[in-house]
């Protein structure tokens, strides 16, 4: 270990302060700090520090994403093989998915990290770890057959416009991963919606069609999937969003470690369930009749609520605000699903919309705290003059 350390220190010499490539130090530091937690000691403030850092926090989110990702890879192959009625093994399905999805992840990380590194060097700060999560989320919420260049372009749009333009990590209003999806959704609608994109090779092989459940409901068609299939995720959809089961495993990891806000997750589920229940009572069309608990397990609701709505930067930041934000994400998601047949999946737009409103929610929560303090001041002032 010490050998490796010495070698690294040797390699980093040209990037040291005052040396030739000092400007590019953040790009080598980004790799170095993944090998070793640096030897930096405290210089001001508390002399001891907690073991947690942003790397650990972000990697925990990635760990939480892995179950859904692995299932998504398998399901990609599974959907393809059952549609083509070929005989297949678990390995076949998994390999089919991996060949499709790993290049998408590579493109997402390649393009996104290149931009992140460039901005870190340009702004003279270290590379933030946030993109490690965003970069994995983006392919996970795309349809499997989307061309790689579209993935790259969506990533570039999201990182540049949704994140860096606002000042980088911690400053963005919108969730970058959802912004990438929204960009692709509105720029290339034929690749992002309809009944030919959700199953691998559907647009090339005539025999394959794969409508998502929400898509069929919106067009008034019958739904032929059992509740178990919806819950386990053996249904067509974006790559890793289909399996509520494995998303819940991720949710458990996030809630247990405290990295994801359970308030937002629970708020969203309550909001969606309540809204779904109201529509069930109304029951004017097939979507309204779709039972409220099924709303929770189809489409991207679970995935969006667990992994995207809880993004601490773009969500509400106060405890009370998180409840309000969460409930409204749930309510809006079902509203959009039911009233907007053009957008059968409502969770993306619901979260993005609430991202925009999160600062407003926080503003009112904090304003209440400020008013309480002001009132206290006025009260004591009144007592003193009396």
């Amino acid at each position: 270990m010490m050998k490796l350390r010495e070698k690294l220190d040797q390699l980093k010499k040209p990037f040291a302060k005052g040396a030739k490539w000092e400007r590019f130090a953040p790009s080598v530091n980004a790799f170095d700090t993944f090998l070793f937690v640096p030897n930096h000691t405290t210089h001001k403030g508390a002399h001891i520090r907690d073991a947690v850092d942003l790397k650990r926090t972000m990697v925990t989110v990635i760990i939480a994403l892995v179950p859904a990702l692995l299932y998504g890879i398998y399901n990609t192959g599974y959907q393809y093989f059952i549609q083509t009625s070929e005989a297949f093994t678990f390995i076949d399905a998994f390999l089919h998915g991996a060949i499709k999805i790993l290049p998408m992840i590579a493109v997402s990380y390649g393009v996104g990290l290149a931009i992140e590194f460039a901005f870190a060097v340009y702004r003279g700060h270290e590379v933030n770890e946030g993109y490690l999560v965003t970069g994995l989320l983006i392919p996970m919420i795309m349809p499997v057959d989307i061309p790689l260049w579209m993935v790259g372009l969506s990533v570039a749009f999201a990182v540049l416009i949704a994140k860096e333009a606002f000042g980088g990590t911690g400053m963005n209003i919108l969730n970058p991963a959802l912004t990438a999806r929204a960009f692709a959704f509105f720029a290339y609608p034929t690749y992002m919606s309809g009944n030919k994109v959700w199953v691998s090779e559907a647009s090339n092989v005539d025999g394959i069609s794969g409508e998502t459940i929400l898509g069929s409901l919106a067009s008034g068609a019958e739904v032929n999937y059992s509740m178990f299939e919806m819950f386990s995720g053996a249904i067509p959809g974006s790559i890793a969003e289909t399996s509520t089961l494995w998303v819940l495993v991720g949710a458990a990891i996030l809630i247990f470690t405290g990295v994801g806000s359970w308030r937002i997750m629970l708020g969203s589920v309550l909001g969606a369930a309540g809204m779904g229940f109201l529509f069930n009572l109304w029951g004017a069309n097939a979507l309204m009749d779709f039972s409220w608990f099924n709303h929770l397990i189809v489409g991207g609701f679970a995935f969006g609520v667990v992994f995207m709505a809880t993004d601490p930067v773009s969500a509400a930041q106060t405890q009370k605000g998180k409840w309000i934000y969460g409930v409204l994400v749930g309510v809006l998601c079902i509203l959009i699903r039911v009233f907007n047949p053009a957008y059968p999946e409502g969770v993306m737009l619901a979260i993005l919309l609430m991202n925009v409103f999160a600062p407003t929610i926080d503003h009112y929560v904090i304003e209440a705290n400020i008013n309480k303090r002001k009132k206290r001041s006025l009260k004591t002032a009144a007592v003193q003059t009396a």
Binding site: L4, R5, T33, F34, L35, F36, V37, P38, N39, H40, T41, T42, K44, G45, A46, H47, I48, R49, D50, A51, V52, D53, L54, K55, R56, T57, V59, T60, I63, E126, N128, E129, G130, G168, T169, G170, M171, F256, T257, G258, V259, S261, P312, V313, A315, Q317, T318, Q319, K322, D362, I366, N369, I370, K372, R373, K374, R376, S377, T380, A381
Partner: protein, 466 residues
């Protein structure tokens, strides 16, 4: 001893109503090397120093020259912008050297103590008849005033201000810090006198003690007693003020350290400035952590040697506790205010893959991304490693976990960084001091320097608002 205390308690039970304050948010960090309940007289030294840097915001104007001999209690310098506030020598001796740093800033006044001590004596009227103004003038003239600090701003109190109350916290909750039951042992008369004199300066004196305290502190009269329980920062006077009688815009409160109250009391009993100090020497590299009776400004080295601090590793010596103290060197001197001298191993080492979750649970973490929560009783021996690098603020809700006030800490910090004075006021800047943010420094996953940010913001408020 016990029966005497009990008798005392019974005598005073009628006048002494106490309230309970329970703090839930915070962190009780258990560290190795806590001082054992032994008080020892510190080894003799003739090497003392008074550090003007201990007094935040004070511009020292010297009253003595190098080579001049001074008595204990004789003023060495005064504050340029508050010339009534004088800073006196803790011992009698010769002013050996005035050490200056960049821009001729005075860092140390080195004093070589005489073998035979002599002290400046003040004439005191009868204590019962002393008026508030007399008390104030005596405190200023004798050099006791710097013991009195004020909120807002956490600086030495302005003698012309009218505080709504004086707060004394005799509950130290920070890790490894001195227990005031031990520090104040045998100082009952001085402490009570100190409280009595402070009571002349403000309409109310609040004394907070640990709910576990079994010393004379629960019998102190002439003040409102509060029994505080809960994790750190429950012992912080700022947290107690917030729960007892929060500071509103335009209001001022004064705060005095618990042992400083006894020092003030002894001055009024004897007429001489009392610089005695009891400190807990603690930390994992200290083989014999215990309490020492010593004097403000005493040389640190002999004390560390006596406590058998490990000299083979590189050490961080801290005047104060590990969360809020000031780093110093072994050849340096005790600060003016601290009752704790903490020693930590330096942490300038690399840890391979140390960022992985659930790896290396020997380093404490509040977050459940480490397994250290499985061992709630474990004692840790932290070093000074940052355990990561500074990053943008991403995670929300973690600051609130260690901030037991009805204030939004992250929003306040952001207002401080943006130097938005109106927002800072609205969000409660007047109620806080840097020390209240110490656990945010500790637990932040973005490794932000919250205490430094708050200190800078308070200094900005002093210049802009006053």
């Amino acid at each position: 001893m016990r029966s005497e205390l009990d008798k005392f308690a019974v005598q005073n039970s009628i006048v002494n109503m106490s309230t309970d304050i329970k703090i839930r948010k915070g962190l009780q960090l258990k560290l190795k090397g806590a001082a054992s309940n032994i008080i020892k007289r510190a080894p003799q030294t003739n090497n003392y120093a008074l550090k003007p840097t201990d007094f935040h915001g004070v511009f020292p104007k010297l009253l003595v020259k190098e080579g001049q001999s001074v008595k204990a209690g004789e003023p060495l310098f005064y504050s340029k912008y508050q010339d009534k506030i004088k800073f006196v020598s803790p011992v009698s001796g010769t002013l050996k050297e005035v050490q200056r740093g960049a821009k001729r800033k005075i860092l140390n006044l080195f004093i070589e103590a005489d073998s035979k001590q002599s002290a400046l004596k003040h004439k005191l009227p009868k204590l019962e008849n002393i008026t508030a103004d007399q008390t104030r003038e005596l405190l200023l003239a004798s050099g006791n005033w710097p013991f009195i600090k004020q909120r807002p701003y956490d600086v030495i109190a302005n003698p012309d201000s009218k505080p709504k109350a004086i707060f004394v916290s005799a509950y130290a909750s920070a890790p490894l810090s001195a227990d005031f039951d031990i520090v104040l042992d045998g100082q009952q008369e001085a402490f009570q006198t100190g409280i009595d004199m402070l009571a002349k300066l403000a309409p109310k004196v609040h004394l907070s003690i640990s709910s576990q305290s079994d010393s004379f502190l629960s019998c102190v009269t002439n003040c409102e007693l509060h029994r505080v329980s809960g994790p750190h920062p429950a012992g912080n006077v700022g947290v107690q003020i917030h729960h007892i009688d929060p500071i509103n815009t335009g209001e001022i409160v004064w705060t005095v350290g618990a042992e400083d109250v006894a020092n003030i009391g002894r001055f009024f009993l004897t007429g001489t400035f009392d610089a005695s100090r009891t400190i807990a020497v603690s930390g994992s590299p200290v083989a014999q952590p215990k309490y020492y009776k010593t004097t403000i400004g005493a040389s640190i080295a002999p004390i560390l040697e006596d406590a058998e601090a490990d000299q083979n590793t590189s050490l961080r010596i801290i005047n104060g506790d590990v969360l809020t103290g000031v780093a110093t060197t072994q050849d340096s001197h005790l600060s003016y205010y601290n009752n704790t001298l903490s020693v930590l191993p330096e942490g300038n080492r690399y840890r391979m893959f140390g960022w992985l979750p659930f790896v290396g649970s020997s380093i404490h973490s509040m977050s459940k991304t480490s397994l250290s929560w499985l061992f709630p009783k474990r004692q840790y021996a932290p070093d000074t490693n940052m355990n990561g690098e500074e990053r943008a603020l991403v995670v929300t809700g973690e600051m609130e976990r260690v901030f037991p006030m009805d204030i939004y800490p992250m929003q306040l910090l952001k207002a401080c960084m943006a130097q938005d004075i109106e927002k800072m006021e609205n969000l409660g800047i007047y109620e806080v001091a840097p020390e209240d943010f110490a656990l945010i420094d500790y637990s932040s996953s973005s490794k932000i320097e919250a205490q430094a940010i708050v200190r800078e913001a308070l200094d900005l408020m002093i210049t802009e608002v006053g």
